[in-house]
Symmetry: C2
Subunit: 649 residues, 2 copies
């Protein structure tokens, strides 16, 4: 098995797509990880904002959680209507695009793209923060750990949807079991102790309260941070097509399960945080411990249960990024199909996933992790704006949809979607205003910029399509054989093979030696006639000319381009094929070798002008043939092939 | 002026190399920055090791500095002999290679390469640490700042040696002025106060001393860390050729100036650290402040002088990485000329610097910064081993040199080099043993691995050269015109131009449409005869065949490769040219678009087999022509050219 098959799995037929579809048990981890994992960082984000209150912070969590829970219920009921109306996938982009117009659709798409990229960074960094809470020695290695996890996610996702579902099944259910276990145990102890349980392991002491009083402003900011707990619930409505039949019912059931678990977790956490008087610690500082780590420590002590639970939290947070990997490439594909992104993002890869979208997401979130040093808290203010903008556009689009379509029970659906739209819009405003200075302005600039980019991309693609579309039949007037120019520095087997090929293509072959002065090159002029001229004349072919060009700046390309232009003009606009004899080395580490030849080919294509075409004549070292090539050709056949053109059999 | 000329400067002729040479005033910043800047992190590194001693730490600094100073003097006297013996550049690699044999040379080269890469990372991160001492708000942005500085250094260095000297002139002399000013003022106050001056701004309180007593082991470890202050002094001997005539005298003078300044700085710092009772703070933690920041604050308070001095320290530390950028590519070139590295590292770039070496150094040190989070203290244990290994090999090589050559005054030189060799070897052992567990083991594994890599690279290059060297004249028997295969998905202007070119090259042209099922492609079969077949027959040419290939895995390349093999076998091993009609987009941001065509070309070259050559036929959108191309061709000419082959004039 080849390395890349081991890593990425065997290629799948398009007809295997049905067997890649999933039921609710598998869908819950794949689509719910994001939403469920946010139970681990949402409350923490709210408590971090309340840090200046000191010990009084934990008292405010209950009210905040009730507000967040109310928004959650509105959003979920609203999305259940969307799933019914859009059984083929009603992502915010589709819904806003169809019902509110193109600009709204692009805005939703831009918001979702931004949010998915941020979600990867936030999920992974929160996971590493959880791990560092349990094992403080990991704290200095935050960023390398984040990047390593990102790499694992990319590999898993390039393998395809079902495989990733299977990988995430275990950690998700373990996470739910551990958290509900801890909450039940804590709740039981709280009741026994009449609301004031004694912690098994004391939570960290609250910092002294700042002079700051509890203001509505502080509560609003905490609510805005806490709302990050709601990100991810849109994933199900976006991905209805990945469900097995009956997909609407399965999708709705999955959505309700996810939302129910999330709500229960948030409420349970709020109650216990209050009962045990837990407050946040300064993120990124030494001695940092996550709220969940303190809570589980307080309920169950630092025994095996603690470490199992923290491992599950770590795994689920780190893997929650996976929801983005499932959905981001799908949005990219929709955008690419409408020409808002280059066509490469619409191609299904060998494992039925959109590999280019995955690569793009990996690059962007990797950059975010590096720039923000892998610390969750710095990313939170940028986050959630995108999610709530997409929520709002989607629900508003659904209101328009029901008003227009008026199917069965449309009034009820319209009302539920309207409530959802208002709730998410209000939350959006709160988040945007209260987090503006802390970084939300970046998102608020970035999302419209992305919309402009999408629109520009579409204009460029349409312009080029208009230009390249040409219904007239092949025009073969003024056909001229190209002059073949062969750049070479020495006369060796590689040049030998190139010249043979050149002589089959044209009667006007010119070899060019660019004499850069930093390499001790032999002047080919002395031996040219004996080595090339005579043999060509003997074979009845016009002998290739040799042109030796001086190079003042040690540059290879400049003199060559000037020469090509001279040839072009002196021959009356004859087309030119530049034949590049090339030593091709095929091992993976050879990609890291800077290659003058590759540079030459790229620059000829970019700067050569339209009359130039570039022909690579590869030559392979004998013992750098790998097994896959050999199995296609056989070793004897390959060796014979290799010598072909250099020394005929 | 084009963007890349603005950034990287105009290209330079090889004959301009002499005017790029420098005198001592310019050489001091270029070659001395590294050595001088280490005065800012060496003592700090030693004090950090002494942290467990609490307030008693500052008392030990004097003895440590005297030991370090003694090693410095031995090293400098030794290198002065090297400069005399090797006026064309006596880097450790050259000296060890010529006098101790190939393996010793490679070991020295590997040690230096490692050390230069580490020096970039350490210098930049120490600079950012200095900035964060003055402006604590920068602390969370350590890593992004480090990477931004690295980017600036890369751009400056791609501009060439003299430009970088000019950029660094100001900060270096400002640094020396500020530090000597602070030391003089502090010394004056100390004398006035009979050794117990009152600090203007009190240094940070010492942490409580751990139960640990002052052990010789702790002192050895502090000495080993402090020895990082000596890194960089070899730069002058390495770079003698960049001096103007008389270069030996200028180089020696520069070396003595650098060493003198460094020694004075180290002693002055030691005295004042002791007088003011300054200790280190935990690196990376909140409240971190560098030793120099405390010292200058204590001497002069946090006035304008403090901020000027800290700016100079920041600039010099950040730019000290520049010495590596001057020398690392030079060592790469020496290695490449001896085939230990690919030839790309020997090519002088357009600004007379070795651009590939600069790029490699940037990549490696960028990776180090990311992995270690941009914190100096974590890199220090890896550091210095390489430097002292190279020092030792170089001095030992010089001993062998004098013993063999015996020129004038050879006995004196031999003695000085022998003293240097012993001093650096003892230091090397101390560093390796005392820092082994903290990370030195990484370096101790990496350096020999690099030597093995160099040797393997040379073997591979020699093997390929033996294979490609072929003194026989051009063999033109069995010459066959290639079959031209044109992959196309639709029949548009791009395909039109490609087919025209194909028909000039061969009488056997086959168009191939791979019908991947995720794109709604028209079957070209229906219109092929009317669009292509008829016109070709009318022009008296054999009509190109159309082959439609099904694709089960949506893959493009697999079916194409299988088809090519079939063609190859069914035609009796005929060579095949795959003509790829290509939409070429030329703006810089188009490089980020994933391109199926580029992928196709690369994979055909890697996996196609030796009978396949790959021809790119570019097609350019009308309005993506930039000004430089237009100036070469003129807009009308370009537009005419562009249409050439698509619709003849």
């Amino acid at each position: 098995m080849k390395l890349h098959e081991l890593l990425f799995g065997k290629p799948l037929r398009a007809t295997e797509q049905e067997s890649e579809r999933v039921g609710a048990v598998t869908a819950l981890p794949v689509l719910g990880l994001d939403a469920l994992a946010s139970a681990a960082y949402g409350p923490e984000a709210a408590l971090t904002v309340l840090l200046p209150l000191g010990a009084a912070a934990s008292g405010q969590v209950g009210v905040l959680t009730l507000c967040i829970g109310a928004v959650l219920i509105a959003v979920v009921l609203s999305y259940a209507q969307t799933i019914r109306a859009y059984p083929n996938g009603g992502g915010s982009f589709t819904v806003a695009n169809e019902n509110l117009g193109r600009t709204a659709g692009l805005l939703a798409a831009a918001a979702l793209c931004t949010d998915y990229a941020l979600n990867v960074a936030v999920g992974i960094s929160a996971g590493v923060a959880a791990a560092a809470s349990a094992v403080p020695a990991l704290l200095p290695w935050t960023l390398p750990l984040c990047l390593a996890i990102l790499a694992v996610l990319v590999v898993v996702n390039l393998r395809g949807v079902r495989d990733s579902g299977l990988v995430f099944l275990g950690p998700t259910y373990l996470f739910l079991a551990a958290l509900f276990g801890a909450l039940a145990l804590g709740g039981f102890r709280t009741i026994l102790a009449h609301g004031h349980p004694a912690p098994v392991m004391a939570p960290l002491p609250a910092p002294p309260a700042a002079a700051l009083a509890l203001t509505p402003w502080l509560l609003l900011r905490a609510f805005a941070s806490g709302c990050t707990a709601l990100t991810g619930v849109e994933a199900v409505s976006n991905a209805v097509p990945i469900f097995r039949q009956p997909k609407v019912r399965k999708a709705r059931f999955t959505l309700v399960c996810i939302a129910g678990c999330l709500l229960a977790l948030l409420l349970g956490e709020a109650l216990l945080t209050r009962a045990y008087g837990i407050v946040a610690t300064e993120p990124g500082a030494t001695g940092y411990q996550s709220v969940l780590s303190q809570l589980i420590g307080a309920v169950a002590g630092r025994g095996p249960f603690y470490y199992v639970a923290m491992s599950a939290i770590f795994a689920v947070l780190a893997l929650s990024a996976n929801t983005s990997f499932a959905d981001f490439p799908r949005i990219c594909r929709l955008l690419a199909l409408d020409d808002y992104l280059p066509p490469g993002y619409a191609h299904l890869g060998r494992r039925l996933v959109y590999s280019n979208g995955i690569a793009l997401l990996a690059a962007v979130s990797g950059l975010l992790l590096v720039v923000f040093g892998g610390i969750t808290d710095r990313l939170i203010p940028l986050f959630a704006i995108g999610a709530f903008l997409a929520f709002t556009l989607s629900q508003a689009g659904m209101v328009a949809h029901w008003w227009r379509v008026r199917g069965p029970q449309w009034r009820k659906s319209l009302c539920l979607n309207a409530i959802g739209a208002v709730a998410t819009f209000v939350t959006l405003c709160i988040v945007a205003v209260s987090k503006f200075m802390e970084g939300a302005w970046i998102t608020l600039i970035f999302i419209p910029a992305l919309v402009v980019f999408f629109a520009g991309q579409r204009r460029a693609t349409e312009r080029i399509w208009r230009e390249r579309t040409d219904p007239s039949p092949l025009d073969l007037t003024n056909l001229a054989r190209p002059i073949v120019v062969v750049p070479l520095q020495v006369f060796d087997s590689i040049a030998h093979k190139g010249l043979r090929l050149a002589l089959t293509l044209s009667h006007d072959v010119r070899a060019v030696q660019v004499r850069t002065d930093d390499l001790k090159l032999d002047d080919l002029g002395k031996s040219w006639n004996a080595l090339v001229g005579e043999p060509a004349r003997n074979a009845g072919l016009p002998p290739p000319r040799l042109v030796v060009l001086p190079s003042k700046y040690r540059a290879f390309l400049g003199p060559l381009l000037t020469y090509l232009r001279t040839v072009f003009e002196s021959t009356g606009n004859s087309p030119i094929t530049v034949l590049v004899p090339e030593l091709v080395r095929r091992r993976w580490y050879h990609f890291f070798i800077p290659s003058r030849v590759t540079m030459l080919k790229v620059l000829l294509l970019l700067d050569g002008g339209p009359q130039i075409s570039v022909l690579s004549a590869p030559w392979y070292p004998a013992d750098e043939v790998d097994e896959s090539t050999l199995s296609r050709y056989g070793r004897r056949s390959w060796n014979r092939l290799r010598k072909l053109g250099r020394r005929p059999a």
